[in-house]
Symmetry: C2
Subunit: 405 residues, 2 copies
């Protein structure tokens, strides 16, 4: 059996993801698709709107054959570490290929770009440093440094978010799993961060979430952008847990955590550098909401995403020391769910896996999976009733992989 | 001018306090009464129901001439440190005497008891240790060890809460201010912890708070237990800040703090000893409310008060290191309010004070007063609207001493 992999967040699973899934199957010719999916917190430093269990159900219902979890220590990181974790896991579970969406859509351009940068590594890196010192944000500096290299016309545009991520997937592939075949698919219609609807059936997850969080919006507006299975699962989730998760529900906790911490305690948190701890404390004291806090905090030097990730690591109390423990690479594969094809595939692989497969949390090495447990505990605090919080917390411990037949 | 001192919490100021105040004036023959009052958090490890500013107004309206603040590092401590801080401050501001309420009511009994214990210090201390090791709580062990000493009939009953506190006032007086004259007044009618009303005009603060927090209670029931000035100030506070402060309003923050901390981080918190950090984490995960948490946590070994103080220091992130900085004794006198007599007295004293007098927070030594600022910031988070929180926080910085003419 041949498996291909995708790296996803499914926040929530929508028609764009369905398109990507079907194209992945078609292009790779694989027998099954395995999704490496972020858990409760995402790459942009925010909570997923519904739990990983609900999002696993969405994935399996739409045709994904197996879902494994990208641990907190990779899921909430800048592109390089995010890619390293996810590509390694897809390789370790036994994928022969993987497929990512990109603005560029041509895998050869990615290969050429990675090669060009690799061949000019020194110039490229010092040029990035130069632009960062000039005050540019890291992504802007990276894109500018890349433009300075004289590549051919076949290069990807490194100012586009999915191209950047794809670039890092390719780099991680070259480093960790050189035999893993790569595909890319042009992303349809909606840009990553678009907040408005511009296509009759495809919309960005951002615009869908914006609509879901807005109590004044009619549900029917977004129905056409998601499979009916997603709609049902979202509906169930809202009924079972009393609502979705969003940063604002964690704001009082974050503000309290910042206000009660000393600058030196904040400096122990992962990604808190360069004296920004003092600015964070000042901004938190005056802010009325998470949105307000972020707007006060934002400067040209830091991207919103990077600041949001700092806020997340503060919320989850993830220290530099705690994060560094997992820097070597994923230490386990946590299985979130599968269908029968996924199950058959897993049976062929089980004996040759290099990493422990975790189907039940209670049998996992607690020290390895510590950050995932703690972040799930804190994720549950974003629900409004203590009954819902306890239910979600219990699920983290007792939920076996979701099986769909 | 002759000043006498009282040590108070006024949570809230009621007729029992008024009686104590009038008796203090009568017995001491002093020209004015100075109250050393706990700030936003109290000796039993709980938030005051209204801010120190509101409670200062209650005190001045009822006839107290000056209110100074007992800092967090003394106000939220076991009796010995609480007494040391408050008696030292009353001495430093210039009182010639002080007066406390007690079940016993005879100052000679206190003098004799302190002397008996002092003369048998070694036996007494090893006997306390013995009973604690047998599993008794500290207050129970202390009372039992004392009974083992063969005193005369004139000894106080050290199983009574106000006698214990009084004993420590006397000890602190002997140590820090031997010339300070001591008086005691028999507490009227209501016991310290009574939850029910047993007298036509005097009720414990506990029973008054219980009633204030209960939305089903008619206000008129408690009106006769407090001066009308207190009633008006409470009413204003509720209108201005949207409600009173109670532990349950801080429960989500405390739970989050405990869940997000590692056992070794909790162990850095003041008073967290002997492995109780693990028990605290387990109890917090399963609890639905602060009350529920405390009931789960309670064992015979620890008094409710001691556990509640641990919870408070966790909430305010007060570490052993942070608390130890202030162990030497009060480093400043913070003036909360006064009337004209208080002002006249202060004018006679200002030049001879040994400790800096803080009338405006902005002119204080930040390092000294750090714990008071932080605990006020966290106290404000117990209010439900962010507008109220900001208003209370601003008050900490901008409120000059309250002057009543």
């Amino acid at each position: 059996m041949k498996a291909t992999g995708v790296v996803v967040e499914y926040n929530p699973f929508h028609n764009g993801h369905l398109h990507h899934l079907n194209e992945t199957k078609r292009k790779s010719g694989a027998d099954l698709v395995i999704a490496c999916m972020s858990g409760h917190f995402l790459q942009r430093g925010e909570p997923a709107l519904a739990s990983k269990w609900a999002r696993t159900k969405m994935a399996l219902s739409a045709g994904v054959d197996m879902v494994i979890e990208l641990p907190y220590s990779f899921a909430t990181q800048h592109a390089e570490t995010f890619a390293k974790g996810s590509i390694t896991l897809l390789h370790e579970i036994g994928c022969e290929s993987f497929c990512f969406g990109s603005e560029d859509g041509e895998i050869d351009s990615f290969e050429d770009t990675v090669k060009l940068i690799h061949d000019n590594e020194h110039t490229y890196n010092s040029s990035i440093k130069h632009y960062v010192n000039e005050g540019l944000s890291y992504p802007a500096a990276l894109s500018k440094a890349f433009n300075d290299l004289e590549g051919n016309n076949n290069m990807i545009d490194l100012s586009k978010p999915n191209n950047i991520l794809g670039y890092h997937y390719m780099e991680a592939r070259n480093e960790a799993a050189p035999n893993l075949k790569a595909f890319t698919i042009t992303r349809e219609s909606a840009g990553y961060h678009d907040e408005h609807f511009s296509s009759p059936s495809i919309a960005s997850a951002t615009s869908i979430r914006k609509n879901l969080f807005d109590p004044d919006q009619e549900e029917s507006v977004i129905n056409r952008y998601m499979p009916v299975t997603t709609l049902n699962i979202l509906d169930e989730y809202r009924k079972e847990f009393g609502g979705y998760h969003r940063w604002e529900s964690y704001w009082s906790l974050l503000q309290y955590k910042i206000i009660s911490s000393s600058p030196s305690q904040l400096k122990e948190i992962y990604e808190i550098e360069e004296g920004i701890e003092n600015r964070i404390i000042e901004c938190a004291k005056g802010a009325f909401s998470f949105e307000d806090f972020m707007s006060r905090l934002k400067t040209k030097r830091y991207t919103w995403t990077r600041l949001q990730r700092m806020a997340l690591h503060i919320l989850t109390n993830t220290t530099k020391e705690g994060m560094n423990k997992t820097a070597a690479g994923p230490a386990y594969i946590r299985l979130l769910g599968m269908n029968q094809i996924g199950q058959e595939f897993l049976n062929t692989r089980k004996k040759s896996l290099n990493l422990p497969l975790i189907s039940k949390l209670s049998s996992a090495n607690r020290e390895d999976i510590f950050l995932d447990i703690k972040s799930s505990e804190i994720y549950s605090l974003g629900l409004s009733s203590s009954e819902s919080r306890k239910k979600l917390l219990r699920q983290e411990w007792s939920q076996p992989p979701i099986i769909i037949r």
